[in-house]
Symmetry: C2
Amino acid sequence: MKVRVTIREVAKEAGVSLGTASRALNRTGRVSDKAIAAVTKAARQLGYEPDAVARSMRTRSSGVIGLLVSDLANPLYATIITAAETTFQEAGYALLVASTHNERTREKVLIDAFRGRRVDGIIMGPCETESPELVQRLAKDLPVVALDRDVGPGSTGIQVDHYGGAKQATEYLLNLGHRRIAMLTPGLDLRPGRDRIAGFEAAFQGRGLEPLSKLIRAEKSSMEFAFSDALSLISSEDGPTAFICLGTRILAGVLQAIRHSGRSVPDDISVISIGDTDLSQLFSPAITALRWDLSVVGEVAAQLILKQIDRQHNVEPPEHVRIATQLVFRQSCGPVTLPAMSQQ
Amino acid sequence: MKVRVTIREVAKEAGVSLGTASRALNRTGRVSDKAIAAVTKAARQLGYEPDAVARSMRTRSSGVIGLLVSDLANPLYATIITAAETTFQEAGYALLVASTHNERTREKVLIDAFRGRRVDGIIMGPCETESPELVQRLAKDLPVVALDRDVGPGSTGIQVDHYGGAKQATEYLLNLGHRRIAMLTPGLDLRPGRDRIAGFEAAFQGRGLEPLSKLIRAEKSSMEFAFSDALSLISSEDGPTAFICLGTRILAGVLQAIRHSGRSVPDDISVISIGDTDLSQLFSPAITALRWDLSVVGEVAAQLILKQIDRQHNVEPPEHVRIATQLVFRQSCGPVTLPAMSQQ
DNA sequence: CTGTTAGCGCCTTCAA
DNA sequence: TTGAAGGCGCTAACAG
């Protein structure tokens, strides 16, 4: 157990007072060059390392940002986290992470834990039964950036255009002649899920059509669920000719179900993935996917936090960044070819 | 900006002294039930939340663990992180994460940053040109768990049996008649890479054969590299009849190269993935893969840290946990069928 | 059992 | 420009 060297010892070694040492090290206030030189040398000699905890105590700022998501292992979040961490690292901030597992109570506990640790800001991912009030109240105390949450105009956030993306994807399938399109997305009560459904329906209504509501499924994001769900849909009468699937896990389940039922993509069934992951890119056939830049989400989230910190958390107007989506055309979608079937 | 309520105010509200309030809240030392009741009530009334920073300052323990990996977005690490975080959360610890991007200097800086923040322990993933001394020195100061690093017997760590796994995978291919087996793994100077190569060679030598060294490639873990590498291998004379690929990215590149060259899996070329990801599980054909339990790695790492903390970082003998691998047989491997070709 | 006191290491006034 | 002193909020040691 090595004993830490304190600024006190550095000061003594440099032959100055504690206060001067502090000012010299932080280049704050007026200090003579001589003092700076002496202190710097002493610090290096002794291997001095400032105690961030003590400093936080004094300055009321920890240099730590908290990040709260439902599941750290989710590849979508993982990318966001990396980008955010890199940005924070450059700015000298550290990143504290935690999983809410989509539990509201846990989310509260973790927020309190973050606050207790005096984080300088919090990035929050979507969580079940989101309440705008929670975020707004929190944002009164410290910089908060909400990811894909519905927060009022009072708080800053980043929102992916799930609505427009789902609409575009659906329209693409409609153009190919599909009418019985299944939409599988979890989290109906979360903004992303809601918006996707809305975009999906808007695309239908744009041509005076009605989506088949029984083809909208909102299971948990699990491969097993998606598999059995897709399988029952496929084998049912008037089953879907196309699937729109959210994320790797659901996409995986659907692809397995299709394979299991002896159908093929895209000849029998077309598939679009919402969210572009390794699987969608590398599957054979490659899956047409709706993508958006996750690194940008992470980076912008970090920057928004830093900006709020810089401005001392002033009454800066909250910002809302909208992230666009792109439909990447690959080989998983084709025209409807089923003969002798009524078009809805 | 809400003002925080301190333990002092709680004490006053409860009509007791500061010390009693502290003891009551922490259930430490002897306190009367009456005092506990009064303090608890006052705390709740005022919405008291202990200041973790001040507490850390006093107790010299931050309740924070640092986790250092080369890339947070790597799906393998992401799973480890989640498991570790969950374990720490249960124990009341928070997790600080950072990416080294495989840069040695950055690693040092981040370790110092962690120490400055008074973390109670550090989990370190492998990093380029690992030096056992670094970890050993660090472990003198605080609990450290190294993941897949070669550390001397003096430090505790978790090591996946890459050697045995690679050996088993290679033997499987040898049994199928393959002789020209390509091994693509990054990080030759890291323990995982080294051990894989060793296991690979051991399998050959076990039958008196020699692997073709030109088929061992150790590129960076990038899809593009793997793609061009695999493509040149495939189109070269005496190209490989089987590939062993590390991880999602290299596997993806190889699969694309195979597809691009008009070959098929497993008829023309067999493929084994080291590391079982979404892609290997869900590709068609499903890819035979070497897997190990990443959740266990994360959980055990966390437990080893907690154990060291519990024992006050005593001279507890360092532990070395070995994680076994399993070869999951799927559809991507077949016997060699190329006619009229010399067997090496 | 409880109150008082002394710092943890640092930054930041306040005088000199 | 510098030194001295105060205190951030908390816990732990010591008297009562």
